[in-house]
């Protein structure tokens, strides 16, 4: 099964802009650096950083940095200055839960944490994707006006989540802002 998935991934790499990663990834334009795991592949398009090892549907780690003025994808709620950390978490989780392509969203944990010196959040939740696969996710994020920074790990709950959660924790711990206001 794994060989087939790798083969599919290799095919995808051949015709899509996937690049192998490993080591420090620094993006001045997005004002962050992060250490990426060896042997993973990075989607080399779009604004967000997305990496996977066995395929994005089975496991992926994303780092996003939207402007807080930008509309979110699924909720019409908006970030605003002076929001409390749990309000920021609430907006992100509401955005995830409002996605009609997922079913049975269930929040398991939602705690306040400090990220890069900012008050942030760490949430764990599960849902079923449109293929019926149960996905478990960890979402860590914080607001550093005018940006929201989010690190998100999504993996099939069975087998894959446990397999790569430590990899995500290492990526998360290595996350740094290049400049802070």
């Amino acid at each position: 099964m794994k060989k087939i998935l790798l083969f599919v991934l290799m095919l995808a790499v051949g015709c899509a802009p996937w690049v192998e990663v490993g080591g420090i990834y620094k993006t001045e334009s997005h004002n962050f650096s992060v250490e990426l795991p060896q042997g993973w592949m990075r989607w080399n398009q779009g604004d967000d950083l997305i990496i996977t090892r066995d395929g994005v549907l089975l496991q992926n780690i994303q780092v996003v940095r939207p402007n807080i003025k930008d509309p979110l994808k699924y909720t019409k709620k908006k970030f605003s200055n002076g929001m409390l950390p749990h309000e920021v978490a609430e907006i992100i989780l509401d955005d995830v839960a409002s996605n009609q392509a997922i079913l049975g969203f269930q929040l398991i944990e939602n705690t306040s944490i400090e990220i890069c010196g900012f008050s942030g959040f760490r949430a764990i939740y599960t849902y079923k994707n449109k293929g019926g696969l149960k996905i478990k996710s960890v979402y860590c994020g914080f607001m550093a006006d005018p940006w929201f920074y989010g690190l998100n790990y999504n993996a099939a709950e069975r087998y894959y989540f446990e397999k790569d959660i430590q990899t995500f924790e290492r990526v998360f711990k290595s996350f740094k802002l290049i400049k802070t206001a």
Binding site: K78, H86, A97, S98, N99, N110, T111, F121, G132
Partner: protein, 391 residues
């Protein structure tokens, strides 16, 4: 996708010479061979939907909806088409009927209705599609074969953005839920449905009111909806048809049953659940309307008053925060051990710098809800309050 197109093509070839002039279902009704295949295919598609987790489980509500459906059709029709109403958890405005009598109604549409007469209008419209065999007629319409196939290909492609339900629908579900039937068949469903609801004693004036609501909401939200009843031109068509039909009735026959109270009682849970989803999605006005509707039936609900407080607190426009406080207080006066009301009130005071009141309310919240998922945030705010601030 290729399989769907091939199987449809096969159906068309088999049905190439069949007539589209079929009588409605009566006591002598017999399924034709190609119609049987459509029914079988419908069952397969329904299995996919039923297994997917989109079904809203509520025995009492389902029993009520099916009771209304039974009122609308003579028993002899039920022996041939075993109608069954099933609710789908989905905020989009829609309902769709399979030819074998299984009718799916979205929770979003149910939550927008005011009374049983409006529900009867919708059920009767959808049931007419089955009793008048619109799907088999449409499939047999050889002139439209190519266009029909093309439409299915186009409408099913890229539906993922509208969520899992849209991608779960098979070819029959796509016709029924998204594309709709021909204008002629939809008009027939309006006319026959109108007769059914009115002859069952329901107030015929409510038929057009349902679509006036939907039209208003679609215009307010400016959200592009994928499904038939969420499409502005189709809603306007229904509205105009029902208004014309009402004018044809003598004035003395323009009154009837509304059953507002029983309808709201039976659908109240769905109204509140839907309002919660609307709040999550940031549709504040719709969420507010939903909770207010729920409060008409259950004014002494701490949960609903607290939810209304949450809506105002999160929207925070104009005098929203004052309204939020009032609703949290009302919720506390109804049920002093409902924790979320204290959290809401505590957060407002915390943000307003009134730390003493905030601390007291937040501590009460945690004592009533020791397992609260947001405990660490609240403890952090309480800690900040202890460090001082405005009294």
């Amino acid at each position: 996708m290729r399989l769907i197109v091939l199987s449809l093509l096969f159906c068309f070839l088999v049905m190439g010479c069949a007539t589209t002039s079929l009588p409605p279902v009566t006591k002598d009704f017999k399924l034709e061979d190609d119609e049987k295949r459509l029914w079988l295919r419908s069952e397969e598609e329904q299995e996919v939907i039923n297994r997917s987790g989109v079904i809203y489980r509520g025995e009492e509500l389902e029993a009520y909806l099916n009771e209304i459906a039974e009122k609308l059709q003579p028993a002899e029709v039920f022996t041939h088409i075993p109608f069954k109403v099933v609710v789908i958890k989905n905020h989009h405005l829609n309902a769709f009927m399979y030819p074998n009598g299984v009718l799916y109604v979205h929770s979003g549409l149910l939550a927008r209705m005011d009374n049983e007469a409006q529900l009867a209008t919708l059920l009767a419209h959808e049931m007419t599609h089955a009793t008048h065999r619109h799907l088999i007629k449409q499939f047999r319409d050889t002139k439209n074969k190519t266009a029909f196939l093309a439409t299915i290909s186009v409408t099913t492609a890229g539906l993922g953005v509208y969520g899992s339900l849209a991608t779960l629908l098979g070819s029959i579900g796509t016709v029924a839920a998204i594309r709709g039937y021909s204008r002629e068949h939809e008009t027939e469903a309006d006319e026959e449905g109108f007769k059914l609801m009115a002859s069952s004693g329901y107030d015929p004036r409510e038929a057009s009111k349902l679509f006036t609501h939907l039209k208003k909401e679609l215009e307010e939200e400016k959200e592009k909806e994928p499904f038939f009843f969420g499409t502005h031109p189709r809603v306007v068509e229904r509205l105009e048809n029902y208004e014309t039909l009402l004018k044809t009735r003598p004035l003395e026959q323009q009154e009837g049953i509304l059953n507002t109270e029983i309808f709201l009682e039976k659908t109240s849970r769905i109204i509140l659940d839907n309002a919660r989803d609307d709040l999550r999605a940031g549709r504040f006005e719709i969420a507010e309307r939903g909770v207010k509707k729920y409060l008409i039936v259950k004014p002494e609900s701490a949960e609903a008053n607290c939810l209304l407080g949450d809506i105002y607190r999160q929207r925070a426009k104009g005098d929203d925060l004052a309204k939020a406080k009032a609703h949290y207080q009302k919720a506390i006066s109804i049920n002093s051990s409902y924790p979320d009301s204290y959290k809401g009130i505590g957060l407002i005071h915390y943000k307003q710098g009134e730390k003493t009141v905030a601390k007291q309310a937040l501590e009460l919240y945690l004592s009533l809800s020791p397992q609260a998922l947001d405990r660490t945030y609240i403890e952090g705010y309480i800690h900040q309050c202890k460090e001082g601030g405005k009294k």
